[in-house]
């Protein structure tokens, strides 16, 4: 392989590596932003509250509702 070909090959490899790294960081940034967005949306209305699990305990007798 001539020096010119070696330089071209290295350049192609370097460009590919840079493109991969750029896309990877873009994904990381996107994931981080998405994670921050979810945590902001899930901020509890007051301190000390926890997410309520869904509890299905069979048939209910009556239902509490706003009226």
């Amino acid at each position: 392989m001539t020096d010119d070909r070696r330089i071209v090959a290295l350049s192609v490899v370097a460009a590919a590596a840079l493109a991969f790294a750029g896309s990877w960081f873009a994904v990381v940034d996107h994931d981080r932003d998405a994670a921050l967005a979810v945590s902001a949306a899930e901020r509890p209305p007051a301190p000390g509250l926890r997410r309520a699990p869904a509890r299905r305990r069979g048939a209910v007798v009556r239902r509490s509702r706003a009226s």
Binding site: A41, R50, V60, R62, S67
Partner: protein
Amino acid sequence: MTGRGFRAMGTAWWVWCDRADLLDGVPAGVAALEARLSRFRDGSALRRLQRDGAVEDAVLAEVVRLALRMRDWSGGAFDPAVGSALVALGYDRDHRSLADAPAAPARPAPLALQVDVDGDVVTVRGPGALDLGGIAKGWAVDQVHDALRQQGAREILVDGGGDLRASGRRFAIGVGDDHALPLSDGAIATSSVSVRTWTDAAGRRLHHVIDPATALPAASSVVTATVRAPDAATADALATAILVRPDLLPRLGELSAAAWVVDRAGICWETPSWGEAA
């Protein structure tokens, strides 16, 4: 267990107990309470109070005294003096006939009604009007429960339009779409800004839960609040207060209460003691 359903206070009631013979008098008893406490009934004690500035009525005095106690505990998040704000927003008649409500004021007058209770006498001074809608139904649920208990019933469940009081037996009570809570001795009540809503002449979507600080419909991060408390009147008032001031949630333990709420994103939250059996 025998049940009896009827309508009162603008909603459906259902009462169960282990003494069927006691149920016949319940609808008339609730109707009598409504006749004294409703702001939509001519001649009610509440209407006479608004007209005369003072009225002697043991039932009204007891409910107002309790409402003032909840006002003080909540730092004004719950306030029975919101009647004039509701009227200013067009809610001056039964909710089902609000189709032609006028345009609501952008900056309503602040609440300035002074309310006092001395014995069985209630007095009001200043501009404004009382509204007991955030507590009277829960209080009536408690009255039905206590009356049945005093007459000998041991297993009781009273449901006044979703405000519930139970004793003597474990009942599974539904909350939201897929949540259930066992209740054997206590009460559960729910308030939401998504019911009793209407659109005014300016096209604004309004609801009946008033923030006393602004005299406008509450606009907090909580849209539905369900509260478990020892009695239905307390649960009813707290459910309303939390829609106005969610920062009260960490203090509910002071009143042996717990809550399950839905925020504007539709996420359900609960206070740490919510899941404990009551």
